[in-house]
């Protein structure tokens, strides 16, 4: 079943790439920027069809219910999964405003709490790691990290 779903998704992707690449300009006497993506799209279409056919051959019926989908979406696994994604997005949003040190310490602390680390341990590890990382990257490697509200850009 999974192979069929993957196959159909990749078929749709290859079709979109092919059609999009056809709109690229084609200068006279040259294959143009669309040729390589078009070749890849055709190859992906072929591989997706093969994948779908093999999926159909291995077909085993499954019972689908919205109840199961909701259960899965509300499970601790899903909470952890979406937690990681949301925290990375939160870092992207927060770091320009409150700087690297605070935003990194914050996302580390929240993620560790979510993974059931003791709050005191989580806070200590989060602050230490954010501070060491900032020192290493900003001071030692001279990589400019988003500055924060504390003195010295912390």
């Amino acid at each position: 079943m999974r192979d069929i779903v993957s196959g159909v998704i990749f078929m749709a992707l290859s079709l979109w790439v092919y059609l999009e690449a056809r709109t690229f300009p084609k200068p006279p006497g040259q294959p143009g920027p669309g040729i390589f993506p078009q070749i890849l799209a055709i190859l992906l279409m072929g591989a997706s069809v093969t994948l779908t056919i093999s999926g159909v051959r291995k077909w085993a019926p499954i019972t689908f219910s919205w109840c199961n989908v909701f259960k899965k979406l509300l499970s601790p696994s899903a909470r952890n999964f979406f937690g990681v994604v949301m925290l990375v997005l939160a870092y992207l949003f927060l770091s320009p405003h409150i700087g690297f040190f605070l935003s990194a310490a914050l996302i580390l602390f929240v993620l560790m709490l979510q993974l059931n680390v003791h709050p005191v341990v989580a806070l200590t590890v989060a602050i230490t790691t954010a501070a060491v990382s900032r020192f290493l990257f900003q001071n030692f490697l001279k990589i400019p990290l988003p500055p924060g509200p504390f003195p010295g850009g912390w």
Binding site: S6, N80, F81, Y91, L108, F137
Partner: protein, 500 residues
């Protein structure tokens, strides 16, 4: 020759050179061991220091830092599944799975010794056959480079433990991701959705940290919630690591020789480098392996092959850089800049005009690779303590390292977004049985394939025949076909033999 060697030895014995080598060995090791930070970054950060150093210590610093940083890229690959270089991606899964089985000592023993020995073999190749190989490489044009890149891509499908169709799909996704950005001929923006951050394409460091590192973090946090037993620590030992590694080497003697040769030949080709060498060496090794089914499941053979090929290629990439002034990879591109900064012009004449300096560089390679053994041993002893940290603390730390590594390559927060997207892609692909390593190779080698194809096409005004009519090109095309058709040929051979 004797006088030149003596002069080179005298130059090399200068304390400034020795200090530069030891200091940059530790420096390269630290940079390479941080997930997401590369040997290229290590080399780039050395440029301001090189400005104040005389030529030999400056070049020695580059050679040492890059060799140690590339070896150190194996450390996060084995411990937290974040490869330091695309070359390491060829055996990241095997390293990581072996580490999870507690065989961290064996993995690092093989990593250190294969890196050091491969590097020394590469240095000898640089000494004795550089001018000859450079002459051969002169005959290579875009047609031959196209086939080399195709060969590298083909091996990623062959290497995979997953089904070939799924590995092929992964490779095509990587190749398609490689087409994002300005195209190589007209500079036309492709698949950028009007976002200027995508004009330069998708950087492979954020992609790699996402596909491997973030995907691993996601897999672990999902499993933690499902199964508390999963978070148990790995029991491991690093005792007797070199003894175990030597035992492994005695089993794979042919692999060692073959991978060194592959590494030197591919490294000597401008633009090919250690990444393609590692993949090709592994692809060839799998074809001749007694246990090809074990590749990608936590098997030591691919680590031996890629380790040797990777490091012998690293020294060999200096051949086109020194002989023609054509960089073999981004590190040698920086090196050429430094040579010019010091008033040295790379080219065939460098062998006559700067012979003592050249031999000094050769000595540096040998010493740097020998230093790798004790320094690498210390690094492994310290870094493997990471495995003692509970996963519920380790995973958030890896996530932060991935974010920093992704950001540091271009100092652009957009790359953290790319990393996250790639992490989700990697997680979904793996959950459905698609390998992620071919995506990385497609992303890195795809632009090389396209560039060589387009250049050839434009040069011949659309005539594709030279791809199969030039002698070297034809040989390589046949080799690629043979590699693709090998399973079919083997089946046919079996059928014919049974009938007979």
């Amino acid at each position: 020759m004797g006088a030149v060697l003596l002069q080179a030895l005298a130059n090399f014995a200068d304390p400034q050179v020795m200090i530069a080598i030891v200091a940059t060995a530790f420096y390269g090791l630290i940079i390479g061991a941080i997930p997401g930070l590369t040997a290229t970054l290590a080399a780039a950060l050395l440029v301001p220091f090189a400005f104040f150093l005389p030529p030999l210590p400056a070049i020695a610093a580059f050679a040492t830092a890059s060799a140690l940083a590339i070896f150190a890229g194996d450390i996060p690959a084995a411990l937290v599944r974040v490869p330091g270089t695309p070359a390491t991606a060829a055996y990241t899964d095997d390293s990581y799975l072996l580490t999870q089985k507690g065989k961290v000592g064996l993995v690092f023993g093989v990593d250190i010794l294969s890196s050091a020995m491969g590097g020394i073999v590469g240095a000898f190749a640089l000494i004795f056959i550089a001018p000859f190989l450079a002459k051969v490489a002169q005959n290579f044009t875009t047609f031959e480079f196209f086939w080399f890149a195709v060969l590298g891509l083909s091996t990623s499908v062959m290497l995979s433990a997953a089904s070939p169709v799924k590995a092929f799909v992964s490779l095509l996704i990587g190749l398609l991701l490689g087409t994002v950005g300005l195209d190589v001929t007209l500079g036309y923006p492709r698949f950028t959705f009007g976002n200027p951050n995508l004009l330069g394409g998708i950087s492979f460091i954020p992609a790699m940290t996402g596909l491997f590192g973030v995907a691993e973090v996601l897999r672990n946090v999902v499993s933690m919630a499902r199964d508390e037993g999963f978070i148990q620590k790995v029991k491991f030992t690093t005792r007797g690591m070199f003894r175990d590694a030597i035992k492994v080497f005695s089993k794979f003697k042919i692999n060692m020789v073959r991978s060194n040769i592959i590494g030197i030949i591919i490294g000597a080709l401008p633009g090919a480098g250690a990444d393609i060498a590692a993949w090709v060496a592994n692809g060839v090794a799998k074809r001749f392996s007694k246990h090809p089914e074990k590749y990608g499941t936590g098997y030591i053979e691919p680590i031996v092959d890629a380790g040797f090929a990777n490091n012998s290629a690293l020294a060999a990439t200096w051949i086109p850089a020194l002989v023609f002034g054509i960089p073999g990879d981004s590190i040698t591109a920086i090196l050429i800049g430094v040579l010019m900064m010091k008033g040295l012009r790379p080219g065939p004449l460098i062998f006559q005009q700067q012979a003592p300096l050249l031999y000094g560089i050769y000595f540096t390679f040998i010493i740097a690779n020998l230093l790798m053994i004790p320094i690498g041993w210390v690094a492994v002893k310290i870094s493997s303590q990471l495995l003692r940290i509970p996963k519920k603390i380790l995973m958030p730390l890896i996530l932060l390292m991935c974010m920093l590594g992704a950001y540091a390559i271009n100092n652009n927060p957009f790359d953290i977004g790319i990393m996250l997207g790639m992490g989700l892609l990697g997680f979904l692909l793996e959950a459905n049985g698609f390998p992620v390593a071919p995506v990385v190779l497609g992303l890195v080698v795809g632009p090389i394939v396209e560039w060589n194809f387009m250049q050839s096409f434009i040069k011949t005004q659309g005539n594709l025949l030279p791809f199969i009519t030039r002698p070297i090109s034809l040989g390589m095309a046949l080799f690629v076909l043979l590699l693709w058709g090998y399973p079919l040929f083997r089946k046919l051979f079996h059928v014919i033999r049974h009938r007979a």
